[in-house]
Amino acid sequence: MAEALAALGQNYFFYYALILFMVGFYTTLSHSNILKKIIGINIMETSIFLFFVALGYVEGGQAPIMGRGAEGGPYMNPLPSALILTGIVVSVSITAFALALMVKLYHFYGTLDADEIVMLRGERQ
C-alpha cells in the first residue's frame, strides 16, 4: 500500500494527465453545445501535451544547450518538447477549422445546439 502510494506520489502528473484526458473526452461527448465540444477537444489534447512534456522532465536538469554549462550535469530530454510543438500546431489547426465550421453552422441553422441542429436537419429532408 505504502509502495503504491509512493509510486502514485512520484508519478502524480501521469494520473493528472489521464484524469484531464477523460474530462476532455467526456465534455466533448456529453455536451450538446458545439463550442463546449470544441473546448472539450482542447482539454483532451492539452492533457496529452502535459503528459508528453512531463516525460522529458528531469529533476534539476538543465536545458540541453551546448556551452551553457549543461555538459556533464543532468539535462532534460528535448525531444518531447520538440514533438509537442508540432502537436500544438495540429491542435490549433483542428480548433481553427472547427470554429470556422461552427460559424458556418450558426449561419445555416441559427443555433449552436447540436441536438437542435439534428432536429432542424431532419425537418428539411
Binding site: 483532451m44 496529452i48 483542428i94 477549422f97 461552427m102 428539411r124
Partner: protein
C-alpha cells in the same frame, strides 16, 4: 534519383498542393491540368517504386541523412509500395472525374481549393503508408484527418457543413488517443522509430505489461474511429452522403483503408504477432468486425438514398478487412490486404456511378431512379459489376478476397472458424438483398417506352468509371500479381 523515390512521391504531392492557390491567382484554368499532371507523375513513380521493391526488397530512406534511431526513416516495403500505387492511381481517376463533376457540385470560388485538398490528402496518405516513424505517422494521420472533413464541407450547404463538423469532432476524438498511445510507447521504449521501438517493446513488455496494453487500446480506439470500425462509425453515413461525389469516392475508397494500414503497421511492427496473440486485442477486433459486417449490411437494407446505401455497405466491407487481419492466419491476412485493393476499386467506382446519376438526374432517391439503366446503360452496367463484385460473384475481384478471408476462417479452425465463414456467407446474401432492388428498378422499372440511348454524360465522367470496372473484371480473372504481393506482405507482417 531512384533512391529518392519514396520521399519524392510525398514531397511532390504536398508541394503541388501548396502551389495550387498561387497557380489559381495567376490562371485559374491551369489548376486541374497541373494537379492531374502531378498525380499522374506520382502514380508512375509509385509503380516504378513497387517494381523495385518487388525485385530488390525494401528501400530504406533516411530523411536528411540522419541514421534511424535519431532521424526519421521512410521504409518502402511491399505493403507500403502496393498502397502507394492504389492511392495515387485511384486519386488520379477521381481527379479526372472531378474535372466536370465539381462544376455542378462546388461553388466557383471553392473549386481551386478542392484540388489543393485532393493533392494534400493523397500526399499525406502515401506518406502515412511509407513512414516508419511513429511521430511522422501521427502528423500524416492528422493531415489526412483534417482534409477529410474539409472535402466534405467544401460543398458548402447546410447538410454538408453539419456532416463535416460531426466528422471533424469524431476524428479529433480519435487523434487524441493515437498521440497518447505514441507517448506511452515512447515512455517505455525511448524510441519513435517503429523497428527500434518494436525490439525494445519485446524487452520491456514483462516490466510494463499494463502500459503496453493501454497503448494498444488507445491505438485501436484512435484508428478505429478514423477507419469507421463498427460501433465508432456514426460519422460515416452522413459524411459520405453529403460530400461531393469525387470526395466520397476518395474518402470511402482510400482514406478509411489507409488508417487500417496505419493500425496494422503500428500493431504488428511494435508488438509482433506473438505478443499480440497473448492480449485480448484480436478477440475485440473480431467481435467488432463481425458486428460491423452484419449491422452494416442490415442498416443498408432500408436506405432510400443511393449514396447512403453505398456508404453503409462501406461499414460492412471495412468489417471484412478487420476480420481478415484479426484472424491473423496467412490466408486471412492475404485476403484482407487484397480486399483493401478490391474494395478501393469497387467503392470508389460505385460512388462515381452515383455521381454520374446525380449529375444527370439531380436526385439520389432510389425510388425515383426507375428505368435509369436504359438511359445510362454504361454507368448502370458498371454499377451492376460493382454490386456483383461486392456480393462476391466468381470472376470478379471481390470474390477472390472473400475467398481468401473464408479460407483464413477455415484455417483458423474449430467452431469459431465455421461461425466466421457463416457470417461472411450471410453478409454476402445481405449484400445481394440491398443491391439487387436498385439494379432491378434501374433496368426493369420505370417507363418502358423510353428507348435506349447512349449515356449523355461527358466523357471525363464515364472514362474513370469504365477504367475502374475494367480493373474489377481483370483483377477477378487474373489476380496473380496483386495476390502474390499481398501474400508476401502478409508473410512479412506475420513474421513467417
Amino acid at each position: 534519383m531512384i533512391y529518392q523515390l519514396p520521399v519524392l512521391i510525398v514531397v511532390q504531392l504536398l508541394l503541388g498542393s501548396f502551389l495550387m492557390p498561387i497557380v489559381g491567382r495567376i490562371r485559374n484554368q491551369l489548376i486541374p491540368h497541373i494537379s492531374l499532371f502531378l498525380m499522374g507523375l506520382a502514380n508512375v513513380f509509385s509503380i516504378i517504386l513497387l517494381f523495385r521493391v518487388v525485385r530488390e526488397g525494401n528501400i530504406h530512406y533516411h530523411l536528411g541523412n540522419w541514421a534511424p534511431p535519431w532521424g526519421i526513416e521512410i521504409v518502402a516495403d511491399l505493403l507500403g509500395a502496393y498502397m502507394a500505387v492504389i492511392i495515387t492511381g485511384i486519386s488520379f481517376l477521381v481527379l479526372v472525374f472531378a474535372w466536370r463533376d465539381i462544376q455542378r457540385e462546388i461553388n466557383y470560388a471553392l473549386r481551386g481549393w478542392f484540388y489543393t485538398l485532393v493533392l494534400l490528402i493523397s500526399g499525406a496518405m502515401v506518406g502515412m503508408v511509407l513512414t516508419n516513424d511513429l511521430f511522422n505517422l501521427y502528423v500524416m494521420v492528422e493531415i489526412v484527418s483534417l482534409c477529410g472533413p474539409a472535402l466534405v464541407a467544401i460543398r458548402n450547404n447546410r447538410l454538408a457543413v453539419e456532416a463535416g463538423f460531426k466528422y471533424l469532432v469524431m476524428i479529433a476524438l480519435g487523434s487524441g488517443p493515437i498521440l497518447f498511445g505514441i507517448a506511452l510507447i515512447y515512455m517505455i521504449t525511448g524510441h519513435l522509430n517503429m523497428t527500434f521501438a518494436g525490439q525494445e517493446v519485446l524487452n520491456v513488455i514483462h516490466e510494463y505489461p499494463r502500459v503496453a496494453l493501454l497503448a494498444q487500446a488507445f491505438f485501436i480506439v484512435g484508428f478505429g474511429v478514423k477507419a469507421a470500425l463498427f460501433p465508432l462509425h456514426v460519422w460515416l453515413p452522413d459524411a459520405y452522403t453529403s460530400a461531393p461525389s469525387p470526395s466520397s469516392a476518395l474518402l470511402a475508397g482510400l482514406a478509411a483503408k489507409v488508417y487500417i494500414v496505419g493500425l496494422t503497421r503500428v500493431l504488428f511492427n511494435l508488438y509482433g504477432i506473438d505478443v499480440l496473440a497473448t492480449t485480448p486485442l484480436f478477440t475485440i477486433l473480431k467481435v467488432m468486425a463481425v458486428a460491423g459486417i452484419i449491422m452494416g449490411s442490415i442498416m443498408a437494407l432500408n436506405q432510400k438514398d443511393i449514396k447512403r446505401l453505398v456508404a453503409y455497405s462501406s461499414v460492412a466491407q471495412i468489417g471484412y478487412i478487420f476480420l481478415g487481419l484479426s484472424l491473423a492466419t496467412g490466408f486471412s491476412v492475404t485476403g484482407a490486404i487484397l480486399h483493401i485493393l478490391n474494395h478501393a476499386l469497387i467503392k470508389s467506382m460505385m460512388f462515381l456511378c452515383c455521381g454520374v446519376i446525380i449529375y444527370q438526374k439531380k436526385t439520389s432517391n432510389v425510388d425515383e431512379l426507375g428505368g435509369v439503366g436504359k438511359e445510362f446503360p454504361i454507368t448502370m452496367i458498371c454499377f451492376g459489376i460493382g454490386a456483383f463484385a461486392m456480393v462476391g460473384i466468381p470472376m470478379l475481384n471481390g470474390f477472390i478476397s472473400k475467398w481468401y478471408i473464408s479460407l483464413g476462417a477455415l484455417e483458423y479452425g474449430g467452431l469459431a472458424g465455421l461461425m466466421y465463414l457463416l457470417v461472411i456467407i450471410i453478409s454476402s446474401l445481405l449484400n445481394g438483398l440491398y443491391y439487387l432492388p436498385v439494379l432491378i428498378k434501374a433496368f426493369l422499372g420505370g417507363d418502358s417506352q423510353k428507348e435506349t440511348v447512349f449515356d449523355k454524360a461527358p466523357i471525363t465522367l464515364i472514362l474513370p468509371i469504365v477504367i475502374l470496372a475494367a480493373g474489377i473484371i481483370i483483377l477477378g480473372l487474373l489476380p496473380f500479381v496483386p495476390l502474390q504481393i499481398a501474400a508476401d506482405a502478409a508473410q512479412h507482417l506475420l513474421g513467417q
